[in-house]
Amino acid sequence: MKSLLVSPELFLNNGGIARILRLYLKSLCENAGAGGRVDSVVLNDRPGAEPRLGRYSDPHLGEHIACDRRKLTFIRQTLRLARKADWLVCGHLHHLPIAWLARRLNPRLKYALVAHGIEVWRPYSAVERLALRDAHRVLCVSDYTRRQILRFCHDLRPERLVVVPNTLDPTFDSDEDTRATAQPFALPRILSVGRLAATDSYKGYDTLIEALPAIRHEHPAVRLRIVGQGDDQPRLVALAAQLGVTGLIDFLGSINDEALRAEYAACDLFALPSRREGFGLVYLEAMSHGKPCIGARAGGVPEVINEEVGQLVEYGNIPELAAAVMELMRRPRDSEIVRQHAASFAFPVFSQRLHAALT
């Protein structure tokens, strides 16, 4: 099979969409088969050697073109490579009209959209609807996302929308060494990971901070460690100061993969009570370290977190959030069951699902 992956970015940043699209690249390469080939066009990445590329590709990878944010180049290269391809996998709805155009130039081309989350939970423009209607597959990260797409574009053929849940990065090990580093020096040690952007204030860091006074009442040594950076941080710092919990919170900023693994390994539980997660890859990463998770009963999260591996709370419900933390401390989840749950989202399962969807 000859396929073309079109992504907004793969290696420029470490966001959730980029991380999952790397795994699409890896899976497409692995499933290319004899004589198969995978090309890749990336809009935002910078040209030049990318040391991590080897981890996510194999000799089936043909051309890999990073366009350094030049949109015309991106469109031109996509159309050129699509002429030789059987499948075009489009990593973002914004670029789907290019796939539609590519199909006009190459009628045997089929194209698929990867639908991640909030970017598709909205009404579509006429061009987007046209491109969506012609898509042979829409690969939805969760059933919730699938339902949202059908809600806003109800003339799509439902059988073309397939749920392919996100997966763990197999190169992101949670090995024995990191298990050994789990030291409960602060109980409970709550970890949260994500962007701290004002536009992403739905992530619910503020609700975690607001729950801290109640949690501290029962667990005076509680610590909240937040990984990530963004322009919302000053507001969160001010909120913590106002509630008198500044000393309980560590803003760790952006950290590398190794440090992040250590954080996952050392925490007692992971919490991201976000209102609008399409899936929430970070929950899977935490669960791969055997850590129970708290998420909000919203978006695709209930498809990832259940009572055996964590707790779901109502978004914005501070007493319920505090109670969930205390409940997980009182009744810890079996870390082996949590790991097994994460394993059900392992890369080989994902790769098989993707392969089945495209054949």
């Binding site: 909205r122 009404p123 919730y144 339902r147 949202q148 059908l150 809600r151 806003f152 109800h154 609700t207 209102r275 919203a298 009572e307 055996e308 978004y315 914005g316 419900n317 501070i318 007493p319």
Partner: protein
């Protein structure tokens, strides 16, 4: 009809549990004055009080299967219990009573939760499986009967038919949830799954709840709206539709009349209740008793229409004059029968009182007709707004922002509500949800104290079950979407909840033949234009009962069961409202901004905008409710 209650707790001593359930049942005694019973085994105690409708001499609850494995407490009525019984007998079940409870128990024992889609009726029940040590509870598809629950430490659960019964268990806090207060101001009532109290949940309509042997609780939808299009099941033309509708209406009336006690009907004089009464009268039996509320104020009373309908159907008709002075005098009792605040429902309180005093134990009402046959203005207005949204979205963001800001600053409530539509709604689902909001968002937030406001902002102006209802209505046409939202929100959370609470306050079983699974499943896929004609309100219902309902009633515009509150609030009810909005009373509501609330009342008394009454009354009921709790 009954009240049920129970506690599942691996940690509480049985004696404490039993005493608590006895208190809960006693507190609901008005729901079932005829009998009482308890079951206590292992970690579970259940109790119930019964209003005997079927086989009054038998049917004691809790009821167990002969082998003792399953035990049920059940509130409601299963209208097709005789058909279900015949089917179960064919499969080898034998029955000791003529009661629907025994049939429901056998159906669950035989089919498990799969029995739910076979049930026709209104129900909330709980079943304990002694062998598997699992617990199961469910609520009917459209939420006619209520079920509240709260988790307890150690995977425990407390449940009951009324919130106030859960509170007297002694294991739950009476703390009002500021977020729920905010939701109440938005929706006229607190939408499920929240309740007004912290830590107590309302099982959504059509949902079931299960606790497995490990103590894990799961809730899920066990009934969904029918498929929007069902080729082969729809009428080919209008005549065929009207013929089919008449058959379905007769069928639902036949099912809802079944009882071993006297049955009557509420008759407002509107098309819905008139159709119900006409079909009941046609079905024969003893002379039907009908009941109407009438008002002294001109322009509100539907006395003439109700009398005409009663005459045409030859019913034994009773009228009761409702005045502001009477409502003012009865408010303490009315408030005492709330278990959550509501901005509606006073009419049901008085109609139920009158029906019970008039000698009936069961009454039928026309509730649900507006939702099924497009009786609300939303059916006309929302599709227009929906067509406008794509053009609106094409305007530059700055222009949209500036227009919305201007509308939000207007003193006109309709302009501010339009601002909410334009700034919040992205599709018909969101329009249909938002149109049921009582207060414009800006005004609602202003009425809340800072912390409650922050929570309200986090929850946002959208309905808490937006995603569930939107996906349930996937692929539906605009009429179905609006009908679905009216059924799922205002009807379930406000009308049906008020109907249950206020009819039960007088030990009356209120039945709603339009809110019927079988009728809905037949009607749902029919062409929208058969069901709804914007030029003739309730045309389908009128045409289907043309031989029974006088033409003068079939052709008059909708009025509904309206009360002259706007006038009463400035006269007889004014002392109550002055007291309610006084600083002392508002002090019991720390989640409200007292100054802003007092201003709301002040503006109402000075600006004489009669349309504002429901907003002011809604807030007053919340404040009065908070003070009632403190008493």
């Amino acid at each position: 009809m009954c009240g049920i209650a129970g506690i599942f707790s691996p940690t509480l001593p049985p004696a404490d549990r039993e005493a608590a359930v006895a208190r809960m049942v006693q507190h609901q005694a008005h729901r079932g004055p005829d009998d009482r019973g308890y079951y206590s085994r292992g970690e579970l105690t259940m109790g119930m009080c019964r209003l005997a409708i079927f086989d009054p001499a038998n049917g004691h609850q809790p009821m167990s299967t002969p082998d003792g494995r399953f035990t049920i407490v059940f509130n409601g009525a299963i209208y097709n219990h005789r058909e279900l019984r015949a089917g179960l007998e064919a499969k080898g079940w034998s029955f000791r009573t003529q009661c629907d409870t025994e049939v429901l128990l056998a159906a669950f024992a035989h089919h498990g939760p799969d029995c739910l889609p076979r049930l026709r009726g209104m129900f909330a029940f709980a079943i304990w499986d002694e062998r598997e040590r699992t617990f199961f509870a469910a609520r009917d598809p459209l939420g006619i009967k209520p079920l509240y629950y709260a988790r307890q430490p150690g995977a425990g659960l407390i449940f009951g038919s009324e919130l106030s019964a859960l509170l007297v268990s002694g294991y739950l806090s009476r703390e009002i949830d500021p977020a729920s207060a905010g939701e109440y101001l938005a929706w006229f009532s607190v939408p499920a799954p929240r309740t007004i109290y912290q830590g107590i949940a309302n099982l959504p309509a059509g949902h079931c709840l299960a606790i497995d042997a490990h103590g894990t609780l799961r809730t899920r939808a066990c009934w969904k709206m029918p498929a929007p299009a069902q080729p082969g099941r729809v009428a080919g033309n209008y005549q065929e539709f009207i013929h089919g509708l008449r058959h379905q209406l007769e069928d639902t009336i036949r099912a809802h009349r079944v009882a071993d006690v006297p049955v009557g009907a509420f008759l407002s004089g509107g098309m819905d209740s008139t159709a119900v009464v006409a079909l009941m009268a046609r079905a024969g039996g003893a002379r039907l008793k009908t009941f109407s509320l009438v008002f002294g104020e001109a322009g509100y009373s539907e006395q003439a229409s109700a009398r005409l309908a009663a005459q045409a159907c030859d019913t034994d008709h009773t009228e009761d004059l409702l005045t502001g002075a009477r409502v003012a005098a009865d408010l303490p009792q009315i408030l005492a029968s709330f278990d959550q605040p509501t901005g509606d429902g006073i009419n049901t309180y008085y109609a139920s009182q009158m029906a019970r005093a008039g000698g009936v134990t069961v009454a039928l009402s026309g509730l649900g007709g507006d939702e099924l046959f497009g009786g609300y203005p939303s059916f006309r207005d929302l599709p227009r707004l929906q067509r406008f949204l794509p053009f609106w979205r094409k305007l530059p963001a700055g222009v949209r922002h500036s227009l919305v800001t201007r509308l939000q600053g207007s003193s006109n409530t309709r302009a501010r509500k339009l601002a909410d539509f334009l700034s919040q709604a992205r599709d018909l689902h969101e329009l249909a949800a938002l149109q049921r909001r009582v207060l414009p968002e800006g005004q609602r937030l202003a009425l809340l104290a800072p912390e409650a406001r922050r929570q309200a902002e986090r929850l946002g102006p959208t309905h808490p079950m937006l995603d569930d209802f939107a996906s349930e209505l996937a692929g539906a046409d605009p009429f179905q979407i609006i009908s679905g939202w009216e059924l799922r929100t205002y009807m379930t959370d406000t009308l049906l909840r008020d109907s249950d609470v206020f009819s039960m306050a007088h030990s009356l079983e209120l039945r709603v033949p339009f809110v019927d699974r079988v009728l809905l499943e037949w009607l749902w896929p029919q062409a929208a234009w058969f069901k709804y004609d914007p030029r003739r309100t309730k045309a389908a219902l009128a045409d289907a009962t043309a031989d029974l309902v006088p033409a003068a009633l079939r052709n008059r515009p909708k009025q509904g069961f309206a009360l002259p509150f706007a006038k009463w609030m400035l006269a007889d009810l004014r002392p109550f409202l002055e007291e309610t909005f006084s600083p002392g009373s508002l002090a019991a509501c720390p989640w409200l901004d007292a100054t802003e609330v007092a201003n709301l009342w002040h503006r109402y008394t000075t600006q004489s905008d009669p349309r504002a009454w429901s907003r002011v009354w809604t807030v007053a009921m919340l404040v009065a409710f908070a003070n009632r709790r403190q008493a």
